[in-house]
């Protein structure tokens, strides 16, 4: 047997002898591998699932180009990192003789190549997909609506474009707000996709068809679920035939592409440059964002920063755990290695003992940790699925039954590499230390003994009594043994502090990045919002529904807001100097020359102001909460407003030339108008195109006070580049009067009623639930109803924030396992290693109460030192992160995190005291002698 083999053999024997220690180390390494798996495989699985969820809306493609010709198609196929392309064509509409629904008399004809059916999430309900260009599948809703058609029947189509022709010549414009379509009088315009069928003609307009030359007779081979892109009120049922290579019936067609998104190239820009028309390119932002790629570099950086953030924290937590275990066994290991050293083992061989133990355990832990990691991911994702689906309210009810694991070779390699690095770092220092110690020191067991003398600790004795002195001495005179537990507690606190800070910061960043445009966020506790435009033809329905809500005994509370966004302007001096200086700074970021800056500055002749009117009761509460001037508030004739001073401007609010990366600038003082000062507000009126301040559409409002989001936390909060003011219902009534003066159009003011149900199991709740689904699917007829869940899911920001919060909570829980294991191991090791000391103290007459008091002092001392270490290390980390993020996204003030420290300290305190006292109770033997005779632990 060679010398090295002997060292390894002895190491194996000691590993067997110290089963508890070996198991703890193994468990720690398994946890570490599990966490690495969760980061690398879990990230891919989660993102893939989110991507799949996101693809339920528009499909699995990343970028689509419309009306592409053959030449452009060939160029698109040659783009670097294209993973695949599918083509489709829109053949417009055709008469559908079999239709039994008078409002849907057409087929909306499309042609897909074979792969496009999957990419566009086309799901069969009956039959099969088309296999040649003469076969077709039709939306099964046609049959549900009574169409007399079945698989095997034939359908003849002759496709046409739909045109809507105005029959009025009054100079007005017909508005179709839900279809984003405006028809000026006397005009003939092509109907947008999904435009409903109102009959051949109405009082105001009629429909004309222009045949495009696509004619064929198709055999129906199957029926499909309603595709996500089809509106329920569309004039035609979707019908899709197979698009064979070279058989496109139209000159142009659509190309959808998937890319290798890991390359982080700007594919949208590439496609735009080929198609040469911005409006004909669409990116599937949701899918791209969850693939770690987005047109905005900031999001890509965020995804990468998060991965690095996770891995670094896991490595730190794991290194401390594994290092601690090796360090705790240092004396025992030094004894047997000393023996081996005395018979010729070299320093290298001694070092190899530590590495051998570490990597043997890693070898066992790798498959275990990986499998456990996959299970955790699977279980975690399955458990979180309902919540994630809920966050993506719009996609809830999708056909994804279970989350499938996404195990890639890169995921496995990253897990292995980072696990090996972690174990190597953990074993390096103990190995180096053990390699340096001579055989005699090892055998005598005084390898780590200090020669320092200590005077009697009278100060501790005087201040904290005998127990305090004993605790103080054991902490300060056994520094090496205490260091491990201090490291364990501090790392636990650091993980909690840094991760919580990271979550809060990332959420704030994402809110800024994704919601850089104006939003008003109601903070009321509500289940549904009903909304309409003031003066709209649905206004009466809204008022009636509000009355019904107020009268229903199952409704706990109804609050109302009146919101005017982009409907009012004021003179530019209403906005503060701070605002205009940030505006200029943004121009500098775009590198505008002085002449251009002056040009844009001169164009700033108006400042947009957004209004939110509150019902009188809520307005009074807001006025009180913000300390507004009561005399102004009470005087309704002055039209009192409370100005929201917090705002933000970003490089994406106004774009000058090529879009630069997002930089956000918080503004602390949006307006410089003083309390009591009045200013004119010009309201938008359809009749008045030549607006000037001081005309009959102006109203003067008076500043009654200022508000911050913090003060408004229970009411409404804002995140906007425009000035928001809060006012009462009377002001909004006056505004609506001016907006509607002399014209028939509704005011640009949204009326919104927020209802909170006390008892959600009631018919009214069911009705609102159904109406909210209709609103979501674009099928609302009249007042719009939003459920809170669907409202929250409206923006990608809230979806991303929710996903990040879920991910980080899971991460904190899993990392806490390592930290708590480390803490438990260190605390248990400390107690177990001092059993003899406790027995001596008991034999000297120390009572249990005194022992507990001593332990409490020890915990207090350990905690104080750990807090110091955690704060000293976490604070610079947080500051560095803040500085980096500020450079990345602009002058955004980071969240105040003092509460994070308090929470982390409290959790660590509870954990340390609980583990110490429970372990002490478990380890304590009634027989003092048994512990006194203990030679070693």
């Amino acid at each position: 047997m060679t010398n090295r083999k002997i060292v390894h053999h002895v190491t194996r024997q000691y590993m067997k002898k110290n089963k508890k220690r070996t198991f703890t180390t193994l468990f720690g390494i398994v946890c570490m591998v599990m966490l690495m798996t969760c980061v690398f495989v879990g990230k891919e699985t989660a993102m893939h699932y989110l991507e799949t969820l996101a693809s339920q809306d528009k499909g699995k493609w990343h970028v689509s180009a419309y009306d592409v010709n053959e030449k452009q198609y060939e160029e698109l196929k040659q783009v670097e990192h294209v993973k695949g392309t599918v083509i489709s064509a829109n053949y417009e509409h055709s008469e559908f003789a079999a239709s039994a629904n008078a409002e849907r008399p057409f087929l909306q004809m499309k042609a897909y190549d074979t792969a496009a059916f999957d990419w566009m999430n086309i799901r069969l309900t009956e039959g099969r997909l088309p296999e040649n260009k003469n076969e077709i599948v039709i939306n099964a809703e046609a049959v549900e609506d009574g169409a007399k058609i079945k698989v095997g029947d034939t359908v003849s189509v002759d496709c046409f474009k739909r045109y809507i022709v105005s029959d009025k010549n009054d100079g007005g414009t017909l508005m179709f707000p839900y279809y984003n379509f405006e028809l000026p009088s006397g005009k003939r315009l092509e109907a947008p996709q999904g435009f409903p069928y109102y009959g051949e003609s109405t009082e105001d307009f009629h429909e004309e068809h222009e045949y495009v030359g696509v004619k064929n007779t198709y055999t129906v081979v199957g029926f499909i679920e309603k595709p996500a892109f089809e509106r329920k009120d569309a004039a035609g049922y979707t019908a899709i035939c197979l698009l064979e290579e070279g058989s496109v019936a139209s000159e142009t067609f659509n190309v959808s592409m998937q890319f290798d998104l890991r390359t982080q190239d700007d594919f949208v820009a590439t496609v735009m440059s080929i198609v040469d028309d911005e409006d004909r390119v669409e990116s599937n932002d949701m899918v791209m964002a969850f693939s770690g790629n987005s047109s905005d570099n900031t999001i890509n950086t965020l995804v990468n920063v998060m991965s690095v953030f996770f891995v670094v924290l896991i490595i730190v937590a794991s290194v401390v755990l594994i290092y601690n275990v090796f360090n705790m066994s240092f004396e025992e290991r030094s004894k047997y290695l000393g023996m081996l050293s005395s018979v010729g083992a070299t320093g290298k061989q001694k070092r190899s003992s530590v590495y051998y133990e570490a990597f043997t355990l890693l070898l066992v832990a790798l498959p275990m940790g990986f499998i456990v990691g996959l299970l955790v991911i699977q279980l975690g994702m399955q458990a979180l699925k309902p919540y994630i689906d809920q966050f993506f309210g719009a996609f809830a009810g999708s056909n994804i039954d279970r989350v499938s694991l996404d195990i890639s070779v890169s995921g496995i390699i990253f897990t292995i590499v980072f696990s090996v690095i972690t174990v190597w770092i953990s074993a390096y220092l103990p190995a180096r230390k053990i390699g340096k110690i001579g055989p005699i020191e090892c055998i005598r067991g005084n390898a780590s003994r200090s020669k320092r003398k200590h005077a009697m600790n009278k100060r501790a004795l005087r201040m904290f009594g005998t127990e305090g002195m004993l605790a103080s001495n054991s902490i300060s005179r056994e520094k090496k043994k205490t260091r491990g537990i201090i490291a364990a507690v501090s790392v636990f606190m650091m993980i909690l502090i840094v991760t919580t800070f990271g979550t809060v910061t990332l959420n704030k960043m994402i809110t800024y990045i994704m919601v850089d445009d104006g939003t008003m966020n109601p903070q009321f506790d509500y289940d549904y919002t009903i909304a309409t435009n003031w003066g709209d033809n649905t206004d009466a329905q809204y008022e009636s529904m509000k009355e019904q809500l107020l009268a229903d005994e199952n409704v706990a509370d109804v609050k109302e807001t009146f919101v005017a966004v982009a409907g009012c302007v004021a003179e530019p001096d209403v906005l503060s100097e701070e605002y205009w200086s940030v505006d200029e700074k943004i121009m500098d970021l775009y590198g505008l020359p002085e002449s251009e800056k002056e040009f844009y500055k001169k164009k700033r002749t108006q400042a947009h102001i957004n209004f939110v009117g509150l019902d009188d009761e809520t307005f009074a509460k807001v006025a009180a909460a913000t300390g507004a001037d009561e005399s102004i508030i009470q005087n309704a004739s002055t039209f009192p407003v409370i100005a929201v001073q917090e705002g933000m401007l970003s490089t994406h609010n106004d774009i000058y030339g090529d879009k630069v990366d997002l930089q956000v600038f918080e503004i602390k003082e949006m307006t410089s108008k003083q309390v009591g000062e009045s200013f004119d507000v010009l309201v938008k009126n359809e009749k008045d195109e030549t607006k000037e301040f001081g005309n009959e559409y102006c109203m003067s409002v008076t500043v009654a006070g200022y508000a911050t989001n913090e003060q408004l936390a229970d009411y409404v909060t804002f995140n906007d580049c425009n000035l928001w003011v809060i006012t009462n219902k009377a002001t909004m009534e006056k505004m609506s009067e001016l907006m509607m003066k002399g014209n028939e159009n509704p005011a640009s003011i949204y009326k919104m009623a927020y209802a909170k149900f006390e008892n959600p199991v009631c018919p009214l709740n069911d009705t609102l639930s159904q109406m909210s689904m209709d609103t979501l699917n674009g099928e609302a007829d009249g007042v719009l109803v939003y459920s809170k869940a669907s409202f929250d899911a409206e923006t990608m920001a809230s979806a991303l924030n929710s996903a990040i919060r879920v991910l980080l909570i899971c991460f904190v829980i899993l990392t806490s396992i390592i930290c708590l294991l480390n803490l438990y191991n260190s605390a248990r090791g400390r107690i177990a290693g001092r059993k003899k000391e406790y027995a001596i103290l008991r034999s000297m007459g120390m009572t249990d109460d005194q022992l507990h008091k001593m332990l409490a002092f020890e915990c207090g001392s350990i905690l104080t030192r750990s807090i110091l270490v955690a704060v000293l290390v976490s604070t610079p980390v947080i500051v560095v992160v803040q500085m980096t993020l500020s450079r990345l996204i602009g002058a955004v003030s980071m969240p105040n995190v003092w509460w994070v420290y308090i929470v982390a300290i409290l959790i660590a305190t509870v954990a340390l005291f609980a583990i110490t006292f429970i372990t002490f109770k478990v380890e304590k033997t009634e027989n003092i002698l048994e512990d006194i005779r203990r030679e070693s632990v």
């Binding site: 005084n446 003994r449 020669k451 003398k453 200590h454 005077a455 009697m456 600790n457 009278k458 004795l461 009594g465 005998t466 002195m469 004993l470 001495n473 054991s474 005179r477 056994e478 003899k836 000391e837 001596i840 103290l841 008991r842 034999s843 000297m844 007459g845 120390m846 009572t847 249990d848 109460d849 005194q850 027989n927 003092i928 002698l929 006194i932």
Partner: protein, 234 residues
């Protein structure tokens, strides 16, 4: 004056076939100021007896009275307090607190009693034990003999009713062992300190006033070799 009395002490370990009787109906008493050696072969039960007398182990049957107090009738905390005030324990392997220096180890039972540090008494004991130069040393920085002297100082500091020493020289070389015995005898002689000492070294046992022989858990012989209060100088 009787300071310690034990009645029918029995200690058994295990059950059934594995049952071992470490002490079998042991009774004796000790007078104040007496120096008693307990001798016997390994496994005879002498250490068990000493630990029961010191209140760190419990008898299966029987009673121990120190200055009239039924030691094992006391609750755990009361027993701990009694131990730190009335009993001084000296172990073969010293059992000092590794994180306390010489002064702190010696004063430990005194401080545990919540009393103010008696600096005069400490200086006196440290001087007496010849540890003046080592007061700030931790046990790991002391020799075996020095550690045992600290252990003696700790046992003596509170002027206990009785000092129990479990083979105090067993871990020391002959010369150091003799020095330790001198200290113990001097304490017994000068301060009328009652001392019960376990040894299997006959020459040490013979230095006592009385020798109790123990074998298989039973007292086989209880022999007075010196008259109490007589000259027991070397």
């Amino acid at each position: 004056m009787e300071i310690l009395r034990c009645e029918n002490l029995t200690k058994t370990y295990g059950e059934g076939n594995t049952k071992i009787k470490a002490l079998d109906n042991v009774s004796f008493s000790v007078e104040k100021g007496e120096f008693v050696s307990i001798v016997g072969p390994s496994g005879s039960g002498k250490s068990t007896l000493l630990h029961i007398l010191g209140g760190v182990d419990k008898p299966t049957e029987g009673k121990v009275f120190i200055e009239g107090t039924d030691l094992h009738g006391l609750k755990e905390d009361k027993l701990a307090i009694f131990r730190r005030r009335q009993i001084g324990l000296i172990y073969q392997f010293y059992n000092l607190m590794p994180v306390l220096n010489v002064d702190e180890n010696i004063t430990l039972p005194h401080l545990l009693d919540g009393r103010k540090l008696d600096q005069e008494r400490l200086d006196e004991i440290v001087e007496y034990l010849g540890l003046s130069e080592r007061r700030n040393n931790l046990p790991s920085q002391l020799s075996g003999g020095q550690q045992q002297r600290v252990s003696i100082g700790r046992a003596m500091f509170n002027r206990p009713a009785i000092v129990l020493a479990d083979e105090p020289t067993g871990n020391l070389d002959r010369k150091t062992g003799e020095e330790i015995m001198k200290l113990l005898k001097a304490s017994n002689r000068d301060h009328k300190q009652t001392l019960i000492l376990i040894t299997h070294d006959e020459s040490i046992a013979l230095q006592a006033d009385r020798i109790i022989y123990i074998e298989d858990g039973k007292i086989t012989k209880d022999e007075r070799i010196r008259v109490l209060g007589g000259n027991n100088n070397d």
